[in-house]
Structures are given as C-alpha cells and as structure tokens.
Amino acid sequence: MQLDCGQFEVLLPDLDRAGTRGPALREAALSHAETCGRCAARLTESESLDFALRSLAAHDAFRMAPPRVETALINRFRLEKGIVARRRLRWELSVLGAAAAMLLVLGLTFHERRLPPAEPKAQLASAAQPGATGVDATDDSAGATYDDAGEFTPLPYADDPDADGGAVVRVVLSRAALVSLGVQADAFDASDNISVDLAISQDGTPQAIRLLSPENQNEN
C-alpha cells in the first residue's frame, strides 16, 4: 500500500498504538518515509517523543499514593458498609414490624366478625316490654342465668318504656327498695338482699325490673 504525505501525517501518532490501524500500516508508513525526507524527519521526532514519554512513564511507574490513603479508605469502607448494614437491619425490622401489625389488625378484624353484633336498641325495647325474654345476649355478666329469669315488669313511673338505647344491669337491692319501686316482694325477708335486672333507659332512669329466679339469687 502506498501512502502520501497527508495519509502519513494522520497515521504517524498511531504507528505503535494498539487498537488502531497504525501497526498494520507501519510498513507502508516506513516505506513512505524512506522516500520523503520531510516525513522521515517527522517520523524521527515522533519516535523520539514516544521514547521520552515512555521514559517518563517508566520513571513514574513507581509513584503511588502513600499508605495512609489506603488506610483511610479502608476505614471509611468499614464505616460505610457498617452503616449500610445497620440501615438494612433497621429496614428489615421495620418491614417485620409492619407485617406483624398488619397480621394483628387482620386477626382482630376476623375476631370481631366472629362475635355476634351488639344490639342495645332491641335489648332495651324488648326488656321494656313485659314478657320479653331477649336480654340474654346483652350482658355478659348475666350469663346463662338470664335464660332462667322471669319477665320484665315496667316500673310504675316509667316514662318511656319504648325508648331506644339503654342497657340491662344486674343490681342487688333490699326488700324495702323493691317495695319502693312498686314491686311485690312478699316472698323475701326484710333483711334479704335481692338480685334484680333493671332495664335502664339512655338517660339512666330504670324503666323495668325483673326478679331473678331464687336459685340464681346466690350467684351475685
């Protein structure tokens, strides 16, 4: 391959450079330099510069950062990686905590759904009406004894026996107190404490009363 001076000029810096087409065209470049004094001089200058730069590179090959740089960097590496590890641990714990909280919420929700719904309105309404027996599910403290209880009797001064809301409470009253409420309590002694269920309206006023059966009296 024949090169002209322009091609030689372009190729000159790459003659010894790997990864370029310089080495492959080196013979052609040298052939051209043999026939062109100007390009021969350029070739000599370029090779001299290559030599000088290689000398500089060889001289500097031993230059490196002092050991303290490596020490500082390794310390920093340990620190940073420690921080990252701690962050990762915190994140994992957070995820674990969130998952546990979610499970708890789901569990509670499921548990609530399994329980019978509270119906205070129906309880009071049914409790306020004589003959009603639907109070057994309203008060956990009453338990199964409510099944055996008698009927609710409206109290004489009950102003709103059909009112919504309210609750049924079990209390212990003296015979005198029962009498004052207009309840016949002849079967009890004056010194007896008598357990009764009171249906109470929303404003706290007793609306109806039910005497517990004698066998349940001792439970309270």
Binding site: P13, S48, A52, H59, D60, I74
Partner: protein
C-alpha cells in the same frame, strides 16, 4: 463463580457492592497508582494528587452504583471521577500551578533512593557511568514532565491517558466523557506541541544514541 472471574475488575466491583473489604483493597491497589499519577501530572502537587485519589475511591465507596459497566470500564470511571474532582479543585483554587520535579528527581538520585526505586544498584567501577546515565535520563524525564505540565489541560489529559497510561482512544474517551475523535485530535495536537517544546532538548539525540547501540 471461579476465582479468575472474581478477580476481574467487574468481579471485584460486584464483591465491593456486597461489602467485601478484601475486594476493595485489591481493587484499590490495582487501580490507584494510575489515578494518582494522573492527578499528579494534572496538578504537579503530590498532596492534591493524594486527595484526588482518595476522593475518587471514596466515590466508589459511597456511591458505587454510579458506575454503569455498560458505559465503560471501572478504570475509566475512576479516571472520570478523578478528573471531575480535579476540575472542582481548579475552580476552587486557581493558584495550583504544575511544578516541575526535575530537582526533586535529582535530589532523589543523589541521596540514593532513585537507584532503589528504579530497581538498579550503583556500585563498583560502573558507578560513575551509571550515575551519569541516570542524571541524563532524569534530565530527559524532567524536561518531558515539564513540557507535559505546560500543555493545556485538555491536551495534557489526552497525553496522560493515551501515552502515559496506554489507554485506548475508546477508554480515554469514556474517562474524559467526550467523543473518540476529540481524544484523537487533542492527542495529535498535544504531541505536536510537545515535539515543539522538546525540540531543543537532548531527547532526540539520546534516542538516536540508543538506536545506534
């Protein structure tokens, strides 16, 4: 994964990401001399070169995911980071002037450290000849270093990476974040300038002498 793969730059990089300290140490020892030399040639100041080298590897520690293997080599990435730090330094401190190190080299030679560093001993009858050669060599090295130091930064970078660190044009382009053609043209102009600066030095004579030997 076999040992050979683990010891490639990419293999070490993956281990570094996983927090492997040994991999970081290996990579540092492999890569830092070139980064340090690059910074030293660009600034002429060993303290700054030390800082820049440290900063380049700190970036690898703190923000390793900035390196994208599909965009270039890890070495190129580190050169690029070092170069950015150098530019920031220049913006902060415009008093940084490259210092020729010829006198330091000569002092090193006189005190005897130079022979050890170059892996040769100077004793017996050959001492004076060897010393003379070394002084001549150091003069050459010093003049070349000075000439390189006075090049414009863009040209100096191209010479540093392509001629002194023997990077390919592609690698240098990745490190300098510019097209391959730009690297090539900068290098050609830089070499032309260096030839001009060194025309009056004994470099060419010495080359001719060695060739004749």
């Amino acid at each position: 994964m076999n040992r050979a793969v683990e010891l490639t730059d990419d293999g070490l990089f993956r281990r570094i990401l996983a927090g492997d300290e040994e991999a970081f140490t290996l990579l540092y020892r492999r890569k830092h001399p070139a980064i340090y030399r690059f910074a030293l040639h660009m600034t002429g100041n060993p303290a700054v070169a030390e800082d820049v080298t440290q900063e380049a590897f700190m970036t690898l520690i703190r923000d390793a995911k900035r390196f994208d293997p599909s965009r270039g080599t890890l070495g190129g990435f580190l050169f690029g980071v070092a170069r950015n730090h150098l530019r920031k330094r220049w913006e902060q401190d415009r008093h940084s002037v490259p210092l020729p190190e010829l006198e330091e080299d000569l002092h090193t030679l006189v005190t005897g450290n130079g022979a050890a560093r170059n892996g040769s001993g100077a004793n017996g009858n050959g001492t004076s000849n060897l010393a003379h050669d070394q002084v001549a060599s150091l003069e050459t090295v010093g003049r070349v270093r000075q000439a390189v130091a006075t090049l414009p930064p863009g040209y100096r970078e191209a010479v540093m990476l392509c001629d002194l660190e023997e990077m390919s044009y592609e690698e240098a382009a990745a490190a300098l974040d510019c097209p391959v053609g730009t690297v090539r043209s900068r290098l050609h102009r830089a070499r032309a300038l260096l030839i001009e600066k060194l025309r009056d030095t004994p470099v060419r004579l010495r080359r001719a002498t060695l060739a004749s030997d």
